[in-house]
């Protein structure tokens, strides 16, 4: 019974953390655009949180740079279980145009496990919304 309530509340109100792992800002402004009136992801109960300790879902953008790699792992560890990761944009999926640059790990899944990939350079806010909804569907 308690488990069902927990699952229901998690589904109805996922709190997200927006993490920039070396992105070019394009996906970041699209993530923020998804929170603003036109797309309004908040009507699905999604709330942007500032600290990883409050978050359920990490929305990460960008290829992982070498310097931020350790910080990403630390942030992932700080997030309480169960945690989910959405990789937004082509860079977070595979490195995109930065593939081959010396400071790039190439994709978020090289560093932390990823649940949902949202393609696009940058991903449209509608696509990000779709990714969030698909993640909620798997819970």
């Amino acid at each position: 019974m308690l488990q069902r309530i927990v699952r229901w509340s998690r589904k109805k109100s996922p709190w997200i953390l927006h993490l920039n792992s070396g992105a070019c800002n394009a996906c970041d402004i699209e993530v923020v655009a998804a929170l603003t009136p036109r797309f309004d992801v908040e009507r699905l109960g999604v709330l942007l949180k500032a600290t990883p300790r409050h978050a359920d879902v990490i929305i990460s953008t960008g290829p992982v740079t070498r310097q931020i790699k350790d910080r990403i792992i630390r942030i992932y560890e700080q997030t309480p279980e169960p945690k989910f990761v959405i990789a937004v944009g082509a860079c977070a999926m595979s490195g995109c145009v930065y593939r081959g640059a010396y400071n790039i790990m190439g994709g978020l899944d090289q560093v932390i496990p990823v649940n949902i990939y949202v393609p696009g350079c940058p991903a449209r806010p509608d696509a990000i919304l779709d990714g969030v909804v698909k993640l909620l569907g798997t819970l």
Partner: protein
């Protein structure tokens, strides 16, 4: 007692990874230290491996907010190297997108400033209106953020009369909204009280520390590359350089709203005087050995690209000086003697674009906090040592 507070790289107030170290006395900031490199991707090196045309794609991805600025700055420079002149219609369309980008960037920034000042309604308003600009940009270029409209020798897409009419209609709406933002100070005294007098940067300091863009213009320096060193068709476009005299965050808000109005006028002028003809000319594959410096007034300030060619179809060197980097020294002065609660506001007021600025190599040992400057020869020696010890990777694949 002095106390050092680390802020970032992942911090609620900063949307992008950057690390600030504040030395505090009580609640007053005595000194600030900015640590960079979290967003360093090595784009300048990457650009040397790609052809002139492929590099438009790469330079566009230096930054998502000012993507057109970097791409245009680069394209301008390469066109000079290749000695080709884009047709007039192409130039007009290129800077039509540039001004639309300025509008979207300033609306975005106004929202962020409102958000940092605790005025979230303002944030939601400006971002709602920004979607109108994004729709225009999507209609003109096909993309919302990375427009990909530049090509060597012009632009890739043309616009028709219906699109022209749609843009002019949207402009009316945007003008009305911007006038509302301009008057918001009269209706919202608490917002003005929050941002007035915060992050003071005197005219002398701004000059001495080489501040650029709206940060300099808010300190009463009339400096704008579009006016001082006109590129493209800016010599024939009537517009004024917006300045403010209050030298604080309030001044930076006012300058940006004024610039919005100027941008609407420029867009209207460009659409009404759009010449006929082709939008692009054919560009050669190679450029003669030469070097060029290209200047461009990005939404955040002066953007400089240095490009060197060696006769092949790839650049020998591409160096980018983004406006945010030029504004860092001024930020440290703005932060000094301010309050800790003002940090996000002051920092947001230069409109930092971390991903623009992060290509310079700085050696910081993040784990021990140790910082050292290494000679190039020493670095090379270390690299050789490491390379000798590295195991041979037999199954390694070239990542292209």
């Amino acid at each position: 007692m002095k106390f050092t507070v680390p802020i970032g790289p992942q911090h609620p107030a900063l949307k992008e990874p950057i690390s600030l170290r504040m030395t505090l006395e009580g609640e007053v900031i005595r000194d600030a230290d900015i640590r960079l490199g979290y967003n360093h991707r090595g784009l300048e090196k990457l650009a040397e491996e790609k052809t002139w045309l492929q590099n438009i794609y790469v330079t566009e991805r230096i930054c998502g907010i000012c993507s057109h600025s970097h791409a245009t700055c680069y394209t301008q420079g390469v066109e000079k190297l290749m000695e080709i002149e884009p047709p007039k219609r192409g130039i007009y369309l290129r800077f039509l997108v540039a001004e639309l980008e300025r509008v979207h960037s300033h609306l975005l920034w106004l929202g962020v400033a409102g958000h940092e000042a605790g005025f979230d309604t303002f944030f939601m308003y400006t971002w709602r209106d920004r979607e109108v600009v994004m729709d225009i940009l999507e209609m003109v270029s096909g993309n919302r953020v990375h427009y990909a409209i530049n090509t060597l020798g012009g632009v890739r897409r043309d616009i028709d009369d219906l699109q022209k009419k749609k843009i002019l209609d949207s402009l009316d709406f945007l003008r009305r909204r911007s006038e509302f933002y301009f008057k918001i100070g009269a209706n919202e005294p608490s917002f003005v009280a929050r941002i007035a007098g915060v992050g003071r940067l005197s005219k002398e300091d701004a000059l001495a520390l080489c501040a650029v863009g709206p940060t300099a213009r808010a300190s009463d320096i009339s400096q704008d590359v579009r006016k001082d060193d006109p590129y493209g068709m800016y010599a024939e476009v009537p517009f004024e350089v917006a300045t403010a005299t209050s030298c604080d965050v309030l001044g930076r808000v006012v300058v940006r709203v004024k610039e919005l109005m100027q941008s609407y006028n420029i867009i209207e002028f460009l659409l009404k005087n759009l010449p006929d003809g082709p939008v692009a000319v054919r560009a050669p594959r190679r450029a003669k050995p030469n070097e060029v410096v290209s200047r461009y007034e990005a939404p955040r300030g002066e953007n400089i690209h240095y490009i060197k060619s060696n006769g092949t179809d790839k650049p020998e060197r591409l160096k980018v000086r983004a406006p945010t980097l030029a504004n860092y020294p001024a930020t440290v002065v703005m932060l000094r003697n301010g309050f800790i609660a003002d940090i996000p506001l002051i920092f947001a007021a230069i409109d930092p674009c971390i991903c623009c600025a992060e290509r310079a190599v700085v050696l910081v040992d993040g784990r021990s906090g140790e910082e050292k400057i290494v000679l190039m020869s020493e670095l090379r020696k270390q690299a050789h040592e490491r390379w000798k010890k590295a195991p041979l990777k037999k199954d390694a694949v070239w990542p292209f």
